[in-house]
Subunit: 515 residues, 2 copies
């Protein structure tokens, strides 16, 4: 009988902990809905106790997203577990994921707890979770640096207290495939009871995908992964790599079944890249721009003769084929909304109106808008549509090698018009200074990334910035046929977000954690 | 006794086959010199028969770079082998790398040769190479899809003909660590003679690093790698990942010794990213921006208490620490040239003058220039300094949300002044149109990437574009405090390169290949 491998996506929890990523509830919901379309088995939606914002986002996802199990992360404190349950209980199927550090290093330096205290906390936390739901996961954080006998002891306690999934996190990305596989094998042999074994591999040495697969070969039947390999530091195992490795090499994973609709991989990857502001490198496996391109003469010759000479994955399989939908400035609201539906994009409430207005503005300047453009427009609106934020009314810039670059901006807030003119080292600098002056919000531009949504000179420029103020870092996104305008929009969207997350970020700082 | 693992870098051969990468001889030499400083054992400098440009670049590297073995790739044709030897013979130590496809798929669809013909070509090609040098490598291309008995037969023939290294390429990235390791083990057991076994792993499933390490564990003592994991499609095993995995986990590779100076890894990675125009994703292992950053509260708390709680690699070890050198507009030529020397950057001939002029221009507009800025300036000059190319004399642009974006450019060529004014969808578009008009060179902007060299609003914008014309794709690079100016410079540098490589690219298309 085929053996189902549970795909546990933690893009919204571990992925969102990457520096500068700060998704709001609407963006998280959009990603969660795409993950459901992709067909993942479990969505780890957040860490509800970390902040009010995290709590609300998890709650919204639990209520709205159908299909996958919705999971919340929790420390073993009883009040944390109860709070986590509050967030996920509305889901069709809800999971609580309890974790605590078990390595001597972490227990001593971070928790300041004895092994006995850690065992007791594990028992009580898991038991409390089990009172709420019969789907309880437990993780001994920094497992790969925990003495084996103590790890087995903690895991056995967790199973006895009611844990149904045991997750083995390689928190610092220290594992090597064969020793990580051996660790999973050891857990399966030594820990008695009825549970699913899970992997959670970080990529510090570039081995997260391989370690996850070694875990599956050793009997793990859940993998914790992130879209595009996001996550702390070098990130987690990439969902698309783990899934495609198993699909491409079924001979190496006899009987293992993965329920993901791979033709949604490319779109999921693009959506996550846009909303997080984390571009995908050209040579990224499976979802990178080059994954299906061939440069050298002999390779091109080979592929023309027979695709399989140099390709082991069909681009169609992961949804990496050309645009199908083309809209122009004469397309109406109905066509726009239909196109979004065809793309599987569900836009909630006012965002649809705002996205349609932006579509019309952009269609006036660019002849054709493809599905990739539409995805980008929706992504921009999800990021900038803030009830009481600043709006860009107009921008005028001039620059070049001759005079000093200068910009004039007019922004609106609650009917009020604010105008400022500033000079700068470049036109983007000038525009950002003018926005600072007009809004009165200070901030430092720490990262800046532009990519064109589709090829060609008339492509839309998609700008993602990261702005830092008082130790809080947020991202903003802007779209335009002009890069300076897109940058100004991105900066203004970051300013709006800065105002919104500043409190939340400070609250979060005190409690957040991760396996 | 410690066992030396040969680090064989193929950034300049397989890496350079990535779409849009087109390094000239000066850039290749710059990278080769940095690879020598990094301490790799072998540099595969190119595929001499592919084009005159490739031949000249390999020859220049063989003559100038000290330390590593300099290797050239060759098909088994006797004339190809001889030509390859011509290119590498000036090296202190020279290697010829002979390859031929051995999988049924490749033999039938691509080579249109019988297995007997492939065996004969292997024997004669390797023997010819051995007449030139006693350091000869052989690769059966697409080894992982070659029937085992035929692969062993070919390898045995290669050893008998004089091959000293047998490289097993996973050309399509099809391997899984345990089966690739088993393949290496099988080769070592079945092929008789005195040779070093080598891995060449592609990353289509995200497993290139793991497969290379599995090969080492199985007895391979050479790994073929690229800086930043460059290469065809999803690229090759990343040099920095393979090296740091072995250094971080010596317990898993008993006795294996790697001679790389890891503190040069970060700089090597930056240089390759700049010169190739392939940005590094934030969450890239070892060399990504996030590799040593920590977002969540508990992680930050842990790292403050003790670095090892969440870090297994010290940032100093890979050279990822802050800037040391700061120059300003009052810094003279001597200080500039000294700073480059300190950075280990050797700039040849006129490029130093040109780089110094650009330094002064930029220093007038940016208060402080750090070592990262200096690296970027040199990278720009290496890319744009073309004897008879166009030069940007001046640029004036205006744009925003109100009027139509417009640009006026003046370019110089051989004393002649060419001016044009154009409108566009955005200011960059307008600037590119004006350059097209002024230079008379058509081209399509297919990719566009801006990053800031260092943080802050006053950072230098580093723009890399890819421009396509008549099926030839080239990259260009520009640096400025203003993004539109940097883009115009990048576009113009691509135009210059387009003129230069068009012929070469067509010549190359006919013969190029790769294991």
């Amino acid at each position: 009988m085929a053996d189902r491998l549970t795909i546990f996506d933690t893009t919204l929890r571990d992925g969102e902990q990457s520096p500068g990523i700060s998704l709001d509830a609407g963006e998280k919901l959009e990603i969660a809905e795409q993950l459901a379309r992709l067909g993942v088995d479990v969505i780890e939606a957040g860490f509800p106790v970390a902040s009010e914002g995290d709590f609300e986002a998890v709650k919204a996802i639990a209520a709205a997203v159908h299909g996958p199990v919705i999971c919340g992360l929790s420390r073993p404190h009883l009040s944390d577990v109860d709070r986590c349950w509050e967030a996920v209980r509305a889901a069709e199927r809800a999971r609580i994921h309890v974790f605590i550090s078990t390595s001597p290093n972490h227990m001593e330096h971070m928790l300041k707890m004895t092994p006995e205290q850690v065992l007791a906390a594990t028992r009580s936390g898991v038991a409390r979770a089990r009172e709420h739901t019969d789907d309880v996961e437990f993780s001994p954080q920094d497992a790969t640096r925990t003495p084996l006998d103590f790890m087995i002891e903690v895991l056995q306690v967790a199973v006895e207290a009611g844990a149904t999934t045991l997750n083995i996190p390689d928190t610092v990305g220290y594992g090597i495939p064969w020793d990580f596989g051996a660790l999973i094998q050891y857990v399966r042999r030594e820990v008695k009871g009825d549970y699913v074994t899970s992997t959670h591999c970080h990529n510090d040495l570039g081995l997260a995908t391989a370690n996850s697969l070694a875990g599956v070969q050793a009997g793990a039947r859940q993998v914790e992964v992130c879209v595009n390999g996001l996550g702390e530091r070098a990130g987690n195992a990439a969902l698309e790599e783990v899934v495609m490795a198993i699909r491409t090499r079924p001979d190496q994973f006899p009987g293992v079944e993965v329920g993901v609709r791979t033709e949604e991989l490319a779109r999921t990857s693009r959506m996550v890249a846009r909303l997080t502001g984390y571009p995908i490198q050209y040579n990224k496996a499976v979802v990178g721009r080059n994954a299906f391109s061939h440069e050298s003469g002999i390779h091109q010759h080979g592929v023309l003769a027979d695709r399989s000479t140099y390709e082991i994955i069909d681009a169609d399989t992961v949804g990496s084929t050309g645009s199908q939908i083309v809209l122009g400035k004469h397309s109406g609201r109905h066509a726009f909304s239909n196109a979004l539906k065809e793309l599987g994009i569900t836009v909630h409430g006012d965002t649809l109106d705002a996205a349609f207005r932006r579509f019309k503005e952009l269609a006036d300047r660019k002849v054709q808008l493809t599905d990739a453009d539409l995805e980008a427009i929706v992504a921009e609106e999800l990021g900038t549509h803030v009830g009481d934020g600043f709006e860009l009314e107009s921008l005028e810039v001039r620059g070049g090698t001759v005079g000093t670059p200068a910009a004039t901006v007019v922004v609106l807030r609650g009917g009020e018009k604010l105008e400022a003119t500033e000079e700068g080292d470049g036109m983007i600098d000038a525009a950002c200074r003018a926005i600072k002056e007009a809004t009165g919000v200070e901030g430092r531009l720490v990262e800046f990334n532009v990519s064109s949504v589709t090829g060609g000179v008339d492509a839309l420029g998609d700008v993602v910035v990261q702005v830092e103020a008082d130790g809080v870092r947020v991202s903003g996104r802007g779209l335009s046929t002009d890069v300076v305008e897109a940058s100004a929009r991105a900066y203004l969207s970051a300013v709006n977000r800065l105002l919104r997350v500043r409190d939340r970020a400070e609250e979060r700082r005190a409690v957040e954690a991760t396996p």
